[in-house]
Each structure stands twice: as C-alpha cells, then as structure tokens.
C-alpha cells in the first residue's frame, strides 16, 4: 500500500507522571499541550483540529472531551474524541490528515487514575448482564490470562518477575518516571499477592498524566520543522479480538499478530527482529511484555521469556524493550500509549537523555484497549 502523503509527529509534550497531582485533568492537558506546541515550534493558530483521548468513566463526567476543549487548544476549532488507548487516538489523528480534510492535528490524552477507583471502573467494562456481576476487573481478568499463558507454555512467575526488574530499572534513567526502582526477582516474588499469579510488583501503578502530540501532513512538516525534529509515522495496524473472555484463548495473540502484520507491511518491514531498534510494548502487567512480543513476531510463541532471560530486551540488549520504564513504572491508562509514542519520538530524535537508545532509527510502539488486550494498535515510527 502506498500513500500520497506521509504524516509526521512534529511536537510532543508530557507532564511528569504523578500521583494525586495537584492539577485538574484539564490543567494537565494545558501543560502537555503548551509544551507540545512549543516543542513543534509552531503557533497555536497553526493547529486546525484536535483529537482528545479520554473516558467519561475515568473523568467522572459525560462528553469528557468537552471538558478539555480550552486546554487542548480546540476552542474555535474542530474537536473529536477517541475512547481508548492513545495509540488509537494517534491513528485517528493520522487518518484525519490523510483524508485531506485536516492539516495540523493535536492528539492529546489525559488520565487521573488517582481520582477514582481503578477496579470499579474496569469492572464496568464488563457486560452488566454476565461478568460484571461476578466482580471481575482489569487485575483479576489479567491474572486469568497470566495463568493461561503460563500453563500453555510451561512458564514461571520468576520469568515474569524479570520484566518488572528490567522495566523498573530502566525507569531509573527516565526523569519523568513514577516508580524508578532497583529491585530483584525476589522482591517481585515477595511483594504482596494481588490475584495469583500476579503480585504487587507485577502490576502497573495507578498514575496521573497527560500527553500531547502534534501531527502534521508531509508538506507542512517539512516547511515547519527540521529533519532532526520530525519523526515519520511509517506504519500502523490495529485489530480486535472477541469481547467475552471465554470466547478467546487468553494466551492466543491472533489479533495482535494481524495488527503487527498490517503495520509491518505498511512500513515495508520484512524482519521486525532485525529492523526494529527498540520497542515500547504495553506492559500493564509483567507477563504482558513477553506475550505481546510473541504476538508482534519478535519471538516465536512461548519463547518471549527465554529471549528476556538472554538479555535481548535489556536496555543494552539486541532489541531494548520499554527503555522508558514502561507501563510498569507509570501507567496513566489511555494516555499511556500516547506517552509511549512521545517517548519513541524523543528517542528517534536522539533527545531521550539518559535513557537514549544508541542508533535508534526505527521504533515500534504498541497499545492495547479492552480487557486482556482485546484490541491492539501497532505503530512503526522512524526518522
């Protein structure tokens, strides 16, 4: 598939990850969006439309996009909303530009997890006529997936713990991070049991944060920015699996495999293992990182933990995964995927600071939506 025009990320803005942030979510969006516009080096008047990423349930108000109209610089412009991960918001932003109808597009996402109840809200993602009454939520359903993954491939909790050790360690180099920690496998194994096989340190923390990207069509991107600044959206793919948990094999990554193939085909990637320099993969729970890496075709099914143990995904490894610290170190739900794209943009510019991946030319960013990764969005970004 060939497109007439390409789309670039020309500006990024992030708030520092926080807990009980003294800012309202709209104030956080003001901060992230101001930074992104400044980073792009454009005027706010150059922007002609806004895609927000938010959820009415998280915000505790309906039509939540309207609550961030002023903050996202949408006043007097077109605004629309994606209720899902930020990676899907970026997809919508890119599609708006490629439609030829819109020019410079702001995509912003916010999350104040510490203002409400994570379990209560994720419980409401389940069918009220079936599973919701059982009290299921994101954590307990993830635990069902983790166990299924372990059983299918004979994996151990200690192997999942290594993901947490690696990503919290990576967070030590990221000044925005919420939970930079030098920990051991034993620390993870001895942390409080939440829902077997998941312990506290296998789970991402409830986090506040806002992130904004500025997207531009090719000709504007080239006019407004330097080569060093702009990062191209080279490929994207998304795919969704069945809603009900029992309708899926929870250890099967068929939806992700399709999403990844679409993204690779669009970006012209033949061997992701060789051509991708680093990846930000959605590690809301430790076990997800190897499971999604298998779905992404970075390793064969059931082999993610083996590659992890060999150090492939370490900061200095063959294919660093989650050099930012990942979602395990800060997870503003829905905003998290957009943060990962912003992080990847800084890496590709060579401006990631202490956690810069050397020779970062092609990045993979992955986001999920729905329980146990029902839906996936895969991005290939490059210089």
């Amino acid at each position: 598939m060939r497109y007439m025009e390409k789309v670039a990320i020309i500006g990024v803005g992030m708030t520092k990850y926080d807990r009980n942030s003294p800012l309202t979510f709209a104030e956080m969006v003001f901060e992230a969006t101001s930074k992104a516009i400044e980073d792009a080096g454009i005027s706010k008047d150059d922007v002609d439309n806004v895609v927000t990423v938010s959820s009415d349930f998280w915000d505790g108000r309906t039509i939540s996009t309207m609550a961030v109209t002023d903050a996202s610089n949408a006043y007097g412009r077109d605004i629309t909303c994606v209720e899902g991960d930020g990676t899907f918001g970026a997809l919508y932003g890119m599609m708006r530009i490629l439609s030829g109808t819109f020019g410079i597009t702001i995509v912003c996402a916010h999350h104040k997890g510490t203002e409400s109840s994570m379990n209560g809200i994720t419980n409401c993602a389940f069918d009220p006529l079936v599973e919701r009454k059982l009290g299921l939520d994101a954590v307990s359903s993830a635990a069902l997936q983790a166990r299924r993954y372990m059983e299918k491939h004979g994996l151990l909790e200690e192997q999942f713990a290594l993901v947490s050790v690696k990503n919290h360690g990576n967070a030590m180099r990221n000044p925005r991070s919420l939970l930079p920690m030098e920990i051991t496998v034993d620390d993870v194994m001895n942390s409080r049991k939440i829902a077997d096989p998941l312990k506290l340190l296998d789970c991402s923390p409830v986090t506040d944060g806002a992130c904004t990207l500025v997207l531009a069509p090719e000709r504007q991107a080239k006019k407004l920015t330097t080569t060093k600044k702009r990062v191209w959206m080279k490929g994207v793919g998304h795919c969704t699996d069945a809603f009900r948990l029992g309708d899926r094999d929870l250890a099967d990554t068929r939806a992700l495999k399709k999403a990844a193939k679409r993204a690779y085909d669009m970006a012209g990637i033949v061997d992701p293992r060789e051509e991708i320099d680093f990846a930000e993969v959605y590690d809301a729970f430790s076990y997800m990182e190897p499971l999604w890496l298998e779905g992404l075709g970075i390793c064969d099914d059931g082999k993610g933990c083996e590659y992890l143990e060999r150090g492939w995904f370490d900061y200095g490894g063959k294919l660093p995964v989650n050099p930012s610290g990942g979602r395990l170190s800060a997870n503003p739900v829905q905003a998290a995927g957009l943060y990962a794209m912003a992080e990847a943009t800084l890496q590709l510019r060579g401006k990631a600071g202490k956690h810069q991946v050397r020779g970062a030319g092609t990045a993979l960013v992955h986001g999920i939506n729905g329980m146990c990764g029902q839906s996936h969005c895969v991005w290939i970004l490059g210089r």
């Binding site: 419980n123 009454k133 059982l134 009290g135 299921l136 069902l144 166990r147 049991k193 077997d196 309708d247």
Partner: protein
C-alpha cells in the same frame, strides 16, 4: 523561581456518581437465565454453520455471523482452563470476600469458556485441568449468580 502556586492549599472535592439503569436482557440471554432460574439448567446455543456451541449463549456466531438457532442443554460439568485466587477485597464489586477463586471453565459440550467462581475447595488446591461441576443456588433470580460456583467433581 518561586511561584504563587507554591503557597496554595489545593483542595479536594469528594464526589460520587450514582445513576440507575434498567438493562434489557434480550431474548437470547433471557432464555438462558429463565432456564437457569426455573429449571436449574445451563443451556448453550450452536452455530448452524461452524457447529461451535456458545455458553453463555449469543444471538449470532462471532466467527460466521449466523443466527444461533439451535439450543443445547449442557450437563453442567467442565474443565478448569485457567484460574486466579483473588486476594484483595472489593466489598462493593465482589459478591464474596477474598480470598476466592475465579476460573474460566470449558463446559462439556461447549466450545467457549465460562468465567465464574470456583468454590467448595481450598483455593490453594485449585488446578488447571481440574474437573468441576456447576452448583446451582436454591433461591434463584434469573442472573449469572444463580450458578453459585463450580466445584471439583469428587
């Protein structure tokens, strides 16, 4: 540089949203829950195209998009495909106190898994592959909790 913000006492406003809903259960799930309530039986439905049996039943096959017209009564026995022992308390969400066990149970005669409680057993004794049977509540209201839990078959 000091800012006026440094001296502000940031307030927190405690709120809560409570909105009632009357969710229509629909013909397919209503039939499922009426059978469960009135006869204590678990029914699924089969796709005429691919033969897959869904439980809880669906209006259409998710693979073929065909109407699932054929109803099949299931024996209520099955195998634990995965499980978790929940250790945290959520008094409003959880119908029971932790620790308790959720499982995905592949019912005999069905092709999909059913998420439910596994009970009548020490949580530490639950295993993947364990054979279980449905325990039906005595007092039933026509919802998923009419199945009390699945317990190991002795």
């Amino acid at each position: 540089m000091p800012s006026w913000k440094d001296d502000v006492e940031v307030l927190v406003d405690e709120g809560k949203i409570s909105v009632p809903y009357s969710w229509t259960v629909g013909s397919t799930l209503s039939r499922f829950y009426c059978e469960l309530r009135d006869n204590g039986k678990i029914w699924g439905n089969r796709c005429p195209s691919c033969g897959k049996v869904f439980v809880p039943p669906k209006i259409k096959c998710i693979d073929c998009y065909e109407d699932l017209r054929d109803w099949v009564m299931l024996p209520g026995t099955g195998t634990v495909e995965t499980y978790t022992v929940v250790r945290y308390q959520e008094p409003v969400l959880h119908p029971r106190k932790a620790p308790f066990v959720y499982g995905v149970i592949k019912l005999d005669g069905a092709d999909t898994g059913m998420v439910h409680f596994i009970g009548g057993v020490d949580p530490e004794e639950v295993k993947v592959g364990m054979r279980v049977e449905a325990v039906i509540e005595g007092e039933r209201e026509g919802n998923i909790l009419d199945i009390k839990h699945f317990r190991p078959i002795k």
